[in-house]
Subunit: 186 residues, 4 copies
């Protein structure tokens, strides 16, 4: 089965996810700079989520680039990942509108955690018939580390929300650095 | 006529349909976990519709993959299918906001039923010039069975809404299992 | 200049235009069939606009399919067409929410008229370097007839709105019949 | 690394950005032509932003067309550009709803300025491994001139908003004229 449409469909869904989040930046009531202040937490959560969705698009690009064909199972693994990614705009809005409260931040971490697990499942699904990819993924320490960090971020959100948020920022920065495992290959 | 743009356009429309449904998950008023409880029926109907739209994308992928060129009639058959699919977000929101009431659930089944008929028309349209596809589709028992099940789901929604919903879940699960008729071919 | 991205971008924009119109079908307040009645004019205007946008996508597909490369001018001719098409959801919503009142219907016709002129400009732009396309377009009676009919529809909307609406339905049906000038070529 | 998906993803995001702006044209309350008058500033800001996003799509098309492969850094440079472009609908709505007030217009200029800087970074990123592109970009006087003009527009918005707006219109017109540096090459 060709991978062209899987890429096209995923690009479409991820492009919509990354763009509809900006709809949460509601037009301010007023024409002064002060009117932008209440939007700051919404903007910060948008920025973080934009980076996350961008990271996922980048990694998805590298992952699918490394295989030649996809099985029926991988199509569903891909839809499973897109499902969790599609919930990012929802938790982003919730975090932004509640000024980084504990429960929304923990839920944000939960969705990121589910995304990382869904990505892991998809990667394993694609690597099943692909020795080179299996090798490239290796022990996937980065993936496992981030799943762990998301879980800590969730717990720390209840201690002090900003620490939870800081953990999510750190994970985003870890992923921002391009994945060398694929760089060499592609 | 090439099929590239038919695939690209359908991917775009289906990607938007599957993603705008998440906009119905309105940001909760409050920052506690309790604030998520009223969203549960909306979330469940989103989950079911996500699976359905995913199934249609998968099947559409397999169907168009099996043909080499499309006629003008097939372009319209495709738009007809996209029209009914585009109404899924509307009925999904109606079902979710009314906590699975009878009439919305019956309408949900009606739209699914129309989608399955539109898919059948498109499949026949594409199979008209394609012997291999005609053979692969065969008697299309799975397609006819689901059309029948949607109709029963509509009727059962008036007896007990949850039974109607259960029928739709069952049909989704039937389709979730990849279509072996195409698996072998592609 | 390759035409791949012009097709991809146009497919994306047209896919979004055709899909966001369904967002006007607001979730009804109530769970009875009666709750759907106020949505009937919104639904009818959605249906007509869906057919129109579908017709434009079909014709755009045929038109761009007939050329091998596009000039910088054609890129802007294409954006010009997409601009007028992007206003269709706006007038569709206005017509639907005002139950086919005169002014909204006349504006609907005006936007359709501008779309048809923009399409004509794009077609001429593409045909400038393409003898075969110039021949296929010919005198473009169908295009000129519809521009004329849109203008009459606008005028008739002030006499009796439903006659104006009927004219738009007739033009949509004229275009629904595939364009034989391209059928033979492709 | 292939550039196909970078193009597809960017097309998707830009297509959504250019289309969701039309959602700000809210359905008027009333069915007379007068009901359209309050929408005029919203429409004008939509028109200007449509041209800007169209210009960016055109330039992005030409820029990526000129390279054969993209590095991991260029993927992020591209996402950085898309981030600033994604804020155009927000400032467009703010300008439109406040009838071209000073602060929203200055913010509009700020976002355009950041877009032009992000485009410059992406262009340099792509030109790093590409001698022909480096030559084609040259000293990029047009790019630097517009960044300067955006800054003047921001300052002039506080003197007289309409002058600020006029500056942005002028820059859009400068770019509307196709970029000859690429025309020759492609």
């Amino acid at each position: 089965m060709g991978k062209g449409r899987l890429e096209a469909f995923s690009d479409g869904v991820i492009a919509i996810i990354i763009t509809i989040m900006v709809l949460e930046l509601k037009t301010p009531h007023g024409s002064t700079l002060d009117a932008l202040i209440p939007l700051l937490p919404v903007f910060l959560s948008y920025l973080l989520s934009f980076v996350y969705v961008g990271v996922y698009w980048n990694n998805h690009h590298n992952l699918v680039h490394a295989v030649n064909k996809v099985t029926g199972g991988a199509l569903w693994g891909n839809l499973h990942l897109l499902f969790w990614l599609s919930l990012i705009p929802f938790v982003t809005a919730w975090v932004g509108e509640n000024h980084f409260a504990s429960v929304p931040l923990a839920c944000y971490g939960f969705i990121l955690c589910m995304c990382s697990i869904a990505y892991l499942i998809l990667a394993n699904c694609l690597a099943a018939d692909n020795e080179a990819l299996k090798l490239a993924l290796g022990k996937d320490r980065k993936g496992k580390l981030s799943t762990l960090l998301y879980a800590s971020g969730m717990a720390l959100s209840f201690v002090q929300p900003l620490i939870g948020f800081a953990v999510y920022v750190v994970v985003a920065m870890i992923w921002f650095i391009p994945d060398r495992r694929f760089e060499g290959r592609s």
